[in-house]
């Protein structure tokens, strides 16, 4: 076991993990961040995308199935569950996906939204072609992408007209005490049913 500490959606966690534990499994099974999903075994689908700081502290989109939990030691992570503001107002990208009908089954949506936030942080006013290229690491099997691209364009316009940037708002200082999955469950409160059990 290796000791790792990381800040996830504003809350500091310290845990002992097996080195082979993938970050996505740590997020889902130990920290209860089940908003982040796994869609493939090949690092292709992007459903598991979260933001993680690099060694210089820059937040960037990564595939949490392709990072070991031990490699995230000391980093700060934002999942789809930490994207809404402290008062639970949706992030502009979340709102735009809702309004522009940027999802059908919703499985790709957490990763798609995090990848869009990552893109807009670097390029606040992407062209349609830049959006399609920027999201090339995320697969959607339902929508045909049209409404996803529309949602990202709308979010980009909204963020710029509000004079802000796509960076998620800092989580409230009380996020650690919150009891809703939206702002992070304290570890001991992770409901059993969210932890996958072997099929008997």
């Amino acid at each position: 076991m290796t000791r790792v500490s990381m800040k996830v959606d504003g809350v500091e966690y310290e845990d002992d993990v097996e080195p082979r534990t993938l970050l996505v499994h740590h997020l889902r099974e130990s920290l209860g961040k089940v908003g982040t999903v796994v869609g493939c075994d090949t690092s292709n689908c992007g459903a598991c995308t979260v933001l993680m700081t690099d060694p210089e502290g820059r937040k960037q989109g990564i595939k949490s199935c392709s990072v070991l939990a031990v490699q995230a030691d000391g980093r700060e992570i934002t999942t789809i569950e930490g994207l809404a503001g402290p008062d639970r107002t949706l992030h502009p990208v979340q709102r735009a996906f809702h309004e522009a009908h940027g999802l059908q089954c919703g499985f790709c949506t957490p990763g798609m939204i995090m990848a869009a936030v990552d893109l807009l942080t670097e390029n606040p006013d992407p062209t349609e072609a830049e959006i399609r290229e920027g999201l090339e690491g995320n697969l959607c099997r339902c929508t045909g992408y049209q409404n996803i691209v529309r949602a990202v364009r709308e979010a980009s316009a909204e963020i710029r007209s509000a004079g802000g940037d796509a960076e998620p708002a800092p989580p409230s200082p009380r996020a650690g005490e919150a009891q809703t999955p939206d702002s992070g469950l304290p570890r001991q409160d992770v409901p059993d049913e969210t932890i996958p059990q072997p099929v008997p």
């Binding site: 075994d41 990564i62 399609r132």
Partner: protein, 281 residues
Amino acid sequence: MIPPTFDYAAPTTVDEAISALRDAGEDAKVIAGGQSLLPLLRMRFAAPSTLVDLGGVEELRHVREDGDTIVIGAMVTHARVLRDPLVNAHVPLLAQATSTVADRQIRHRGTFAGSLAHADPAGDLPAVALVLGASLEIAGPHGRRVVPASEFFVDYLESVVAPDEVLVAVRVPKQGSWVGRYEKFNRVAQGWALVGVAALVRRENGAIAEARVGLTNMGSTPLRARRAEAALAGADSPAAVGAAAARAADDTRPSDDLLAGADYRRHLAGVLTRRAVASLA
């Protein structure tokens, strides 16, 4: 799937990394960005006894200028290459080729040096390193050595880096008056190259004085298209470039697989060489 079990070492210097590799023995493996290694582990195509993580080795994270050379540390990611001012000013071919690699998320973690060490013939950057005349600085228990890219790639997924060695930096000569272009052909977004061509050209008085052409996925290692290079020298018209480019696949034995037949790959090598060189007019 979940990777097989392994021990984990997190050195903070190159020397510690080399000791960790030595202590762990033959089956230890270095992990850099993990973007090639973790998919292999998840599919259980690899089962190293120990992973030696270079993520905490600060000295490997720098890009610096050393005379006519840009030195890129082993933990410099694709994303960093794309935004680095030294790379963009002096080796723009590397930045342009890197923009075609994988997707944003993978580029945030994967490293330039890792793509060379991985030695995947379908990887885009080995052919680019070859035409740029890069050399690779390798550290091991007996000190450091520098190997030119032309001698670095041994076979499919095999380079000259020994199990107890660490690739510490890639030294890339500045392009100077050479202009370059990477052309990649793939069928879907995020797909690997069926074939890729890295072209580097120096012009004099309206004609090509010298050309270098590197091929991705036209054999078990990246290759130079020597015949096309020779034929390109002196080319001063689109017709001459076209005729020279048609020789790009001479002497190659590309694979014949489900993604593309060997004939099709040879055809693509010619087309992409013509496109790359023509774009540099």
